[in-house]
């Protein structure tokens, strides 16, 4: 379920070619079309789209959004080390830092929610789908958008004929996120293993 917080600001960042902008677009679409909230998307074009740091800024709100740029993010999703270095200071203290575990080596300054999204995408047969796995993960961990809205947005944004595969990727990320939350909960309750 989407949290009833007034306004959430998101930065999705990584290499060009990782589908960063598409990920941002799906988040925004899900919020607007599925969850009936307002959203904006600012994407950075330029040389980045051929491999440098690439960035999508998404704002989701209950009210009309006047200014679409993100200064301090509630959710920062990093899919490359250089993107992480560049944006790591732009996250609120209570925000979520989300990374691709194999591509980002965080500095340990704050709590990280990480997922081997690219590796999982490879296992599913397509590196291209790392961004969709990431959306699944973000959906589970942050409750930025509802699961239903996210699935619908994925369905309508990916190329025809690949819907099922992408939904599978979404599920993979989503379940990983749920599992991660469950794990943290258990750890907080002092249960790390299966045997007491």
């Amino acid at each position: 379920m989407a949290k009833k917080v007034n306004k959430q600001e998101v930065i999705v960042t990584g290499f060009g070619g990782q589908g960063i902008v598409l990920a941002g677009k799906i988040l925004g679409m899900a919020a607007a079309l599925g969850d009936h909230r307002e959203s904006t998307l600012v994407q950075s074009y330029g040389p980045e789209s051929r491999g440098g740091a690439c960035c999508a800024q998404v704002i989701i709100s209950e009210k009309t959004i006047q200014y679409p740029y993100v200064k301090m993010a509630d959710v920062l999703v990093c899919m490359s080390q250089s993107a992480y270095e560049k944006y790591k200071s732009q996250i609120k203290p209570e925000g979520y830092l989300i990374t691709d575990r194999d591509l980002v080596n965080p500095d340990g300054q704050r709590e990280v929610y990480d997922i081997p999204a690219t590796r999982m995408a490879e296992e599913l047969g397509r590196t291209m789908m790392a961004n969709i796995i990431m959306i699944g993960f973000v959906t589970a961990v942050t409750a930025l958008i509802s699961e239903k809205a996210a699935r619908e947005a994925v369905m309508s944004s990916v190329p025809k004929g690949t819907e099922e595969m992408n939904l599978k990727a979404f599920t993979r990320g989503f379940e990983y996120g749920q599992s991660k939350l469950k794990g943290r909960e258990k750890k907080a309750a002092g249960q790390t293993g299966a045997i007491a």
Binding site: M120, S179, Q191, T192, A194
Partner: protein, 528 residues
């Protein structure tokens, strides 16, 4: 008045004299007491003690000489152990441990013997009749089937006489004069009634390597199973080829009694959480009985596997239901050739599980999985629930991520389970799971995967010097990998291999620590 049956196993030496004295003095031994004169209490095995209950005894007393007075030295001590184990087993079964007593008397203690008998009779009458309905008194279903039909079912006519089966059979390779090819051709030629064929059909381990190799795809294990069912219809089933005096077959037949109320889960550790309202049932299997039977012997602890399986389910927030009255799945009855009683167990289990409104059954035992998941339906019993092997559940959950494994500084190797290796649904799971573990080393044995060697026994049928040699060979293979921990996936592999390791002639050379994969996972899994 209901007629009670109390079996009195009476040692020939000390107490028999006392018994005779009672008779000489005109004392009427209670009519319900059926006395069997025996040479020594130590010779009455658990199988014999239990058999009395299987056949409908309401009480069993074994009466011998005082420990120091045993003519053969250790008879009384053996009887004490056997009695204790048998009492534990009948207690698990819900027959009640009070129905079995051991006592000792000196030749001149006739008065004490008299009091003992009267007292025991009274106690049994208070307990009432035994809930066991002897399988022998129930109608035997006769399957109108000929050997030729069995041959045709598995298309054994297409045997090309290539001999690949014999060349790969671990029993033949252990030096036994045993040839699957010859069994097939003997039966095709109509010689299915000979002693040799009967013995060979029951010696096979049903491990299935021959089927793997056979170019004509003759499903030898299933062929053997059906031949056993056929051959045992017309003769008293062969307890002589059943190790442990046929105890396990006897136990399983007893479980076909509707009225017994087993208490299978009484040992359950407190940390395990179950939910009586759950639609998911954990089916444990006979591990508690195995442990009770082998307690003194081999320190077999297969209930740990069940406890750890449940802990793993709990770890992933599944609180299953347990069925106190769970019966044996029937695998070993069917595979030792007793289809009638297998069908009874199958119907009872399915009825009970359906009554609880169960949708999914999870089990950690390959044989239970195979039997509940496939064999019931093949035999015309529609389960109406899905059956999942614990490994499939685990693989699915672990695959979701966010769990990891604590490092374990052990070098491991893996003993394949024959049944698991013949089920495409789960064949790869154990290795997938093993690959996830953080052990120091995982080394396969020389024969592994589809050509793995059997642990040496199946369905408590046909254990002999050759299967023992096979086990020794297998354990040596395990040692050759340089491992210090042998991982299994079937509780029976643990039992049979442990038995071989206890071979007094090999002393400690064969010893190797064993653990079930379920336990290994439970001990090292953790949240990331």
């Amino acid at each position: 008045m209901e007629e009670y049956k109390i079996i009195l196993f009476l040692c020939n030496w000390g107490p028999h004299t006392a018994y005779q004295q009672l008779q000489d003095n005109g004392y009427q031994i209670p009519l319900e007491v059926k006395m069997i004169r025996i040479p020594c209490t130590g010779r009455i095995s658990k199988a014999l003690l239990f058999k009395a209950f299987e056949m409908g005894a309401d009480g069993v007393a074994i009466v011998g000489c005082n420990s120091g007075a045993c003519r053969y030295g250790s008879g009384t001590l053996t009887a004490e152990n056997n009695t204790e184990d048998t009492r534990n087993i009948i207690d698990l079964l819900g027959i009640g441990r009070e129905r079995m007593r051991l006592a000792t008397f000196l030749p001149d203690e006739s008065e004490a013997l008299k009091t003992f008998l009267a007292d025991f009779c009274e106690e049994i009458k208070e307990l009432g009749k035994s809930p066991v309905m002897p399988a022998k008194l129930q109608p035997v279903e006769v399957y109108d089937e000929s050997a030729q039909q069995v041959i045709a079912r598995y298309d054994a006519y297409s045997c090309q006489d290539c001999g690949k089966c014999t060349a790969s059979c671990p029993l033949a390779l252990s030096g036994k004069t045993f040839s699957p090819r010859n069994i097939v051709s003997d039966i095709i030629r109509g010689n299915d009634a000979t002693e040799k064929v009967y013995a060979d059909v029951h010696a096979c381990l049903t491990c299935g390597i021959c089927h793997e190799r056979c170019p004509s795809d003759v499903n030898f294990p299933e062929f053997i199973r059906d031949m056993r069912c056929l051959l045992n219809q017309t003769r008293i089933s062969g307890e002589r080829i059943q190790p442990h005096g046929g105890f396990f077959q006897s136990l399983m037949r007893t479980m076909t009694s509707k009225d017994i109320l087993p208490d299978r889960w009484k040992w359950l550790p407190e940390d395990i959480k179950v939910d009586p309202g759950s639609k998911t049932l954990f089916f444990g299997g006979c591990a508690p009985y195995f442990d009770a039977f082998f307690k003194k012997h081999q320190h077999v602890n297969t209930v740990d596997i069940l406890a750890d399986a449940l802990r793993l389910l709990n770890f992933f927030d599944v609180r299953p239901r347990l069925m106190e009255m769970e019966r044996c799945c029937g695998h070993d009855l069917l595979w030792s050739g007793d289809r009638t009683n297998f069908m009874r167990l199958a119907k009872l289990n399915v009825e009970m599980i359906q009554d609880l409104g169960i949708e999914t059954v999870i089990t950690a035992c390959p044989e239970c999985y195979y039997t509940l998941g496939f064999e019931y339906e093949k035999n015309g019993i529609q389960p109406g629930f899905t059956v999942t092997h614990l490994y499939a559940f685990l693989e699915n959950e672990i695959n979701k991520g966010a769990v990891t494994f604590k490092p374990l500084p052990r070098r491991i190797t893996y003993q394949d389970s024959c049944r698991m290796n013949r089920m495409e649904e789960i064949i790869n799971l154990p290795r997938k799971l093993i690959q996830r573990l953080a052990v120091e080393q995982f080394q396969e044995m020389k024969d592994s995967g589809r050509s793995a060697l059997c642990c040496g026994n199946c369905a408590w049928t046909g254990c002999d010097a050759y299967s023992k040699a096979l086990q020794v060979k297998r354990i040596r293979q395990a040692h050759d990998t340089g491992s210090d921990l042998l991982v299994t996936s079937c509780p029976k592999c643990q039992i049979h291999l442990r038995c071989a390791m206890e071979d007094p002639f090999q002393e400690t050379e064969l010893k190797m620590e064993m653990i079930d994969l379920t336990s290994l996972i439970a001990r090292t899994i953790c949240w990331e």
